[in-house]
Symmetry: C3
Subunit: 332 residues, 3 copies
Amino acid sequence: MLIKEKLPPLFNFDALPEPTYTGNGLTDQDVISVSQFDTERLDYIFSRAGEMRELVERVGSTDLLRGRVLACLFYEPSTRTSASFISAMERLGGGVIPITQGVQFSSVSKGETLADTIRTLEQFSDVIVLRHPTVGSAQVAADYAAIPVINAGDGPGEHPTQALLDLFTIKEELGRINGLKIAMVGDLRYGRTVHSLTRLLTQYDVSLRFVSPEILRLPLTIMNQVIDAGIDVRETHDVADVIKNADVLYVTRVQKERFTDLAQYEEVKNHYEITPELMAIAKQDMVVMHPLPRVGEIHYAVDDDPRAAYFRQVRNGMYIRMALLAAVLGKA
Amino acid sequence: MLIKEKLPPLFNFDALPEPTYTGNGLTDQDVISVSQFDTERLDYIFSRAGEMRELVERVGSTDLLRGRVLACLFYEPSTRTSASFISAMERLGGGVIPITQGVQFSSVSKGETLADTIRTLEQFSDVIVLRHPTVGSAQVAADYAAIPVINAGDGPGEHPTQALLDLFTIKEELGRINGLKIAMVGDLRYGRTVHSLTRLLTQYDVSLRFVSPEILRLPLTIMNQVIDAGIDVRETHDVADVIKNADVLYVTRVQKERFTDLAQYEEVKNHYEITPELMAIAKQDMVVMHPLPRVGEIHYAVDDDPRAAYFRQVRNGMYIRMALLAAVLGKA
Amino acid sequence: MLIKEKLPPLFNFDALPEPTYTGNGLTDQDVISVSQFDTERLDYIFSRAGEMRELVERVGSTDLLRGRVLACLFYEPSTRTSASFISAMERLGGGVIPITQGVQFSSVSKGETLADTIRTLEQFSDVIVLRHPTVGSAQVAADYAAIPVINAGDGPGEHPTQALLDLFTIKEELGRINGLKIAMVGDLRYGRTVHSLTRLLTQYDVSLRFVSPEILRLPLTIMNQVIDAGIDVRETHDVADVIKNADVLYVTRVQKERFTDLAQYEEVKNHYEITPELMAIAKQDMVVMHPLPRVGEIHYAVDDDPRAAYFRQVRNGMYIRMALLAAVLGKA
């Protein structure tokens, strides 16, 4: 039996809160590249991320993004990154559409262009986080979407939220960025986290040390950016050369697959493993970082060392993503 | 150390809100087929969907379905439909159990009957949305479930929420349904969205034009329903025949796989592609719709035409599903 | 344009609720094994689970765990168990990170140790529910995590929340546990639910009957625990031997794969199927339980019998998990 008379209205909008927006320079913006972040904007995001930490530690969550929905679209699985964004959005009181596994088998992607998939998902959501294997895909998505797109990794391209959380971790752990001696260790050629973090660091007064096998040295273009920025920089083949003076040791994996000559791999790999013995000669107030996952390049015995910052680094990712989500949605 | 004395109660139910229910003819009902929707009920759902649009545009979400949980059970992936339902439920303040990928590998489905899976999930949830590859499965689920089941596509059977959002889109775009000239284009034989929408339209005073290759003509049974309803109807092989007078162009894909003679496919396919040239001779206040995903049957240059309604159509799906969820849960 | 002056704070913590914690003996504890549960703790959890039932039936959900996030990490799919935990957490007002499908393909697990995955996820969440194919993995996870870990099945090891919900169901259905005659039927050798429930029951004054084919008899170690507890116990090969006197019939599946001699399987299988004929000679106030999924070992015609408790048993799982989540997070 249907109601025949005029329906009484379901919602009384006078009683519902009206959203208010404030300017932060990121409202309604996409987050595609670290090149969008000058030191002023970095200060802003780090300040907000600090507030998010306090929020989570004190009460766990807020209603700040109530009524907002995040579409979390991962064309390749990354549990760490997607879990970080999902938790960030939930702690901000927003909703999540998790499309984090098997998207490659779905009718949305089967024969459908990325542009159409994005324009479909933006109908349901207020912000899209995209992980895609192709360089430039995040920018394509942003070009088509009317809502903010956050790049959560576009293949060998960029992964800006990782670089932000890396830099935030340095600042949180050591209280400053300027004046630090930072060593990057491992695969400096292919590691996009190293490239992005290095580009952010060229805006600061730091010393950089790059430690890698010969075939995995930092690419020319990024090395030249470092030199052009007037940074004190040096390359070496052995982590032992830098361990004594480093304030930060940013470790990445030297992948066996990169070597055509396995004998060469076996010969060099021990020069890049962080052991308790190496830590014994490092400074007492330095930090060891790693984007994770690790597969042996930091010895498990190092985990209990208070200087091992890699799990705190993971947590900082949640705070940075909370700050970014709030910022692009005009709520921070 | 366990508490030994009598436990103080965890909840003070006097302080908790008691749910209130109102009648709308859909409370506690399943949504299985378009045949459940007469014009009165359609008016009701479209009215509520309009309120949902206003809610989302003004504040994003509500607490209307707080305390209610949706089990979203997809035996085959459909990111568009599942994302639409998930966002709908979250914007209504309810919870979601997303079982949208890989359900075919799970212990729930391995050897377990659909009836048992449904009777399991209804223990955790208040409404079930089911996508299943088998015709009739939604009715089977509804027969076993004590809670409402919404059919999100049962193979070649029905997909009623798609038909509702299609019709709602026509009404929202053009302000009315009666008096319109509506052309369906493409695969009219296998396209279930065409069949369901056509069946809904037979309740209105419309003109219908069916444009398809000979081998993909509308099935006899549906054509006869149209004729029996006294609808002004005509079939043709070329979209150019109908483009000038159409108020609505509902486009679906002509799939190569349907042709045994590929030469025949190559010969006909251009007659069904919507191009800017075709749009140039169409009415200024007509709309182009498509259930998506599209693979070339609407030229990308048409996307910027204000008459291209297919992404707005996607968004309407969220409003319709919000209205349906609220209705079957007795909250609208 | 970035804000240059000092940022106004985003949150006023004075206005936000401070969490309060009360002792229940489970706060901040892991739930790994049934051996953690003495009768006092069982009484406590069952009491809280009863309150959760009332909550769900009356209003659906609460804010009790607002601000808390559950990481639901399933290395093998189990829709029933993961859906139960997800619904439990959502009804408690908390957030969920669902990692329930395809985790084996993700970068988190690829080459990463379980310890590292756990220490990563605990950065985002307040409690971890783990399903893993390897015995002992839940304890490993608990050893590394600073937050509570709940074992949702570690291969042939334990599945304590299943045993708790089984025992809770007996108590809810029959009003007591002491004095009951409980028969376990089917695969008693490999069925971990039978082992765990049996171990819990040795704390009560019950009679136990074990009904199985010879090759699927209860393992020696568990049988000895039963005998040592002074329980009235007996083994038999035919359910007909126990049906008349049983207060509880706990049925599990006799799997064809367990038999090397298929003729032997065909010969015995009918002795373990629960039929309406068998039910006709059972007590009027007995209950039939099953951990599900079933594949024929309980005839579908039994489903309408009010003594068929297996779907109510599923629902009890949600209440038990709500009680456990609230307890380990210090909120019950």
